[in-house]
Symmetry: C2
Subunit: 557 residues, 2 copies
């Protein structure tokens, strides 16, 4: 076996000594000798092969491979009806010279006749490039090259090869008379042996379509690393609320809710949070979810907590439950025109609803929140259509929602807790009831600025513990609340009019004049947010710090 | 109803005018008048209440609330056996003055007798702080304050209240003779009405334990934002391979595999990748997974691709299939001593296996990889115990693995593709066979440096298509391959000896002298990695850019 391993090097060595004169090679190829018929008889003068003779195209193949094949025919480790009788007549020098000669010829794509058993080239292509790992069949390309061009002295070119020959060769490998002692041939025999005769025919049908001169794939096209930014047409500037958007959202949701495959989830009870570091982080995540003000000045810029909108710490079905998020994401969002991870979705909450700055992706806070959300969704299949999600929308009433009626509903049913001024209630720095508008409420980019979201939330959840408002009252008071000033949207485009153009895709009052006489959003550019915590403090510790932590006790114990 | 709304303000106004002289208030409290019995008879001179009289503690309660209650008794909107006959005899000025007097007294925690129907204070505490959202019952704390201290004129203090009184009051609210026209009372009636008599008793049992003087919670303890860094003892510096670690890993895995609840996954076929932006990203993720060299010079620093170790583009069960990752994470990893998200796990692949720099968390590449992994796991329940995962380990043989025997296995079975020098094979800049060591292979931090991982991978997958090595051969060749130099671990601690201390927790050769005479890892500090792509280019587009993209076509169409 060892002699074969060193053959390529040996071949080069012999070539350089020019042990066989060029004229002798020409004679062997074109005329032959007493004991050796001319190679050209079957393979053609330049080694293009012949369908009539079932002779493979050897032009341009690797010299080491060709020499190895001839040696194999010569010493009996390889068999071919014709070659097994010819090769023993060749000297080692002649083998080397012939291999070099044909390696130096140029292959040409031939119009080989269809094989006796025609195969499916498309199925063959799939096997060629993908293999079938369920049966431990690697792709042909993984050893013979992406273009079937052959790799080195061991893996021959198979692109554009004569069909009858390849068919026979695959059959020989698949059904050998005895196992090969050569591990490389044993490998190919193992692969070929797993292919059905039909699959072998499919591969043959594909190989014949490949250009034997394509050579190896070189060079990768670097990946396009930048998110595509689709151009979206925007309508003319409208001076009224886009109620159609709200109605569309309702209808879409109704359709989803009517899906018989909908998965209804019940989150696990709190005592099921596991012990250990994962459980600790889940508990920390839940704590942050409820007591989000613990992040005030670091990541949170207003007086809100997650649980203000996601009631019951995100576990209330009618108040944007958070258990489906790890199942649903990564998900495309029209809000930012690309596929978002759970992290980016959560980062959005900090940017908009908390009017703050998102924690770093590997930070304790962010991983804790993700862990808690994931735990709440324990048991949901990853392809489940989980409903309800978000808020449960209401149809837009025929008589459109009204600001003045909303003001009355607000005074009677909301002001007790949230204040007549909408600013909520604090004791010292402790928020008791969250503000619904004003400088310490969610900003214009938060989901709650969408009228259908606000109305749906209010209808099913407010007043807390006695959600008895009619649909019309919920719409009216949603309009009233969302017709008040709040912090600027971080997507601010420099003017209310321009920013309105962006907003008017949805159902909201941004850029419109409220009955109170104010232009919604006309409060200037966004104020500075809390400075982000340096990544070194908030994200995961550096690898070297971790390594050091593991050795903190020194080496003596 | 409106008069009640403005009462707090009105009360203050009247107080300031001192309409009732102090002596008159004292008389009312301690002696009473012809028509009004002394308040002190039931409530005590400072309003501490009385269990014998079932009189609530009113000392220190909100003046607006107390005045509102008296007005309610006076006008018949509230009923109390005693107060309903007394209050109508009080003038508005007297009500205001009495409310102010008792609001000014100091509450004291009393040792109230147990109520007739004893409740479970622990169950009551759960209701008080958590409510029961499955029945739309908010927590008591959400309106009455975290300490039950009462909030403003509408939500009375309930902490430390006399039990018989609270029991009666909850019963009145839960089973009213007629619905209250006051929405705040209707709200409390709605909540109380959902509580069973047993639950009401539980809440009463908890309330009596609370200190009526605790006052509101003020101030949040800011969250600890920094990952805990546990101190881990490290052993003495050992000069041999930690085979125990490999055996332990094997035994742990066997235990997991024997779990009858193990979930066996079959990934969906490629034609099931959806159309649209999410499907496009899944396809892009799969492309990056296979053709990872497209990221060379941006995020990838060596000649490896994901699919080199995660065969079949991460879908081969015996080669670290990636479908379980989105299910398993967030997950604690001893590798970095904290809970990791899918993102951080993937970032680790770039840092170690690709010897590069991780893409930003919201970058197209990262989200694409996460999307592809998630899609491969379609249908896995989020709490599934998915096996196999990682590599399938082998027991450590009694006759320990041997470098020299490994070298022979390598020469005969691996060198054809990976090269006698282990550097793999390239055509131009295109990698055909990946390097197993040397400067363009995975670095010392990659999982494959662990001997049990390398042996498990080799045993079940190599040579590609004919994985027929014996366990001993797989161990030997794994040891041989992992006893070669490769890029430094980014966790490098400045010396091989110190870094070895970190490594010796696992089964590897780092810091040991290989039979070739080289100290493994003794190649100096890590080389510079490709500079990270600026976040602005690689992560998600900025909100304002997105808004602008949506308006790119102008406003005219």
């Amino acid at each position: 076996m060892i002699h074969r391993k060193i053959l390529p090097g040996l071949a080069l060595l012999l070539l350089s000594s020019a042990a066989v004169a060029e004229t002798d090679v020409t004679t062997l190829v074109t005329e032959g000798t007493d004991t050796v018929p001319a190679c050209a008889t079957c393979h053609g003068e330049t080694g293009l092969g012949s369908a009539d003779m079932s002779a493979p195209m050897i032009a341009g193949m690797d010299a080491g491979f060709l020499a190895g094949a001839l040696h194999g025919f010569a010493d009996g480790t390889r068999y071919g009806d014709t070659m097994s009788s010819i090769a023993p007549e060749l000297s080692a020098d002649e083998i080397t010279a012939l291999a070099a000669f044909f390696a130096g010829q140029k292959a040409e794509k031939q119009d080989w006749p269809a094989p006796e058993t025609p195969g499916d080239a498309v199925a063959g292509e799939a096997l060629f490039h993908g293999g079938d790992w369920s049966r431990e069949i690697p792709s042909c390309a993984s050893c013979h090259g992406q273009n079937g061009e052959g790799v080195g002295a061991v893996f021959p070119r198979i692109a554009g090869q004569e069909t009858a020959y390849v068919t026979l060769r695959l059959e020989q490998l698949a059904e050998p008379e005895q196992p090969s002692a050569d591990p490389d041939k044993a490998l190919m025999a193992a692969v070929a042996g797993k292919l059905t005769p039909e699959e072998r025919a499919n591969v043959v049908a594909y190989l014949v379509t490949l250009d034997p001169n394509a050579g190896p794939v070189t060079g990768y096209v670097p990946a396009d690393l930048v998110w595509a930014m689709p151009e979206m047409k925007s309508g003319a500037l409208k001076d009224e609320i886009n109620w159609d958007a709200a109605q569309t959202a309702y209808e879409k949701q109704q359709k989803r809710l009517a899906n018989p495959a909908v998965y209804t989830h019940t989150p696990p009870s709190l005592d099921k949070i596991p012990e250990g570091p994962e459980g600790d982080l889940i508990r920390f995540g839940r704590d942050i979810f409820i007591n989000t003000q613990k992040l005030r000045g670091t990541y949170v810029g207003n007086d809100m907590s997650c649980t203000n909108c996601h009631l019951d710490a995100g576990a209330k079905a009618t108040a944007a439950p958070i258990w489906a998020t790890p199942v649903d994401f990564p998900q495309y969002r029209s809000k930012n025109l690309h596929v978002n991870t759970v992290y980016e979705r959560l980062a959005g909450c900090f940017t908009y609803s908390m009017d703050g700055t998102p924690p770093a992706p590997n930070s304790k806070v962010m991983v804790a929140l993700e862990s808690y959300m994931k735990w709440l969704g324990t048991g949901i299949p990853s392809d489940a259509i989980v409903e309800p999600r978000g808020y449960i929308y209401l149809p837009v009433p025929e008589e459109k929602p009204d600001y003045t009626r909303g003001a009355t509903v607000y005074a009677e049913r909301c002001a007790t807790c949230h204040g007549t001024d909408g600013l909520g209630r604090k004791e010292g720095d402790h928020v008791i009831f969250p503000p619904l508008w004003g400088p310490k409420s969610f900003n214009w980019g938060a989901g709650m600025h969408d009228l259908e979201k606000a109305a749906g939330f209010i209808k099913h959840n407010m007043p807390l513990g006695n959600a008895d408002l009619s649909d019309a009252e919920a719409w009216d008071v949603a309009l009233y609340i969302d017709s008040q000033q709040r912090p600027q949207d971080p997507r601010w485009l420099g003017s209310v009019e321009d920013t309105r153009r962006f907003f008017q895709r949805g159902s909201n009052t941004y850029g419109l004049t409220s009955p109170s006489g104010e232009v919604m959003g006309d409060i200037g550019a966004p104020l500075a947010k809390p400075a982000p915590i340096p990544a070194s403090e908030s994200a995961a510790p550096k690898p070297t710090d971790l390594a050091k932590a593991q050795m903190a006790k020194g080496s003596s114990n």
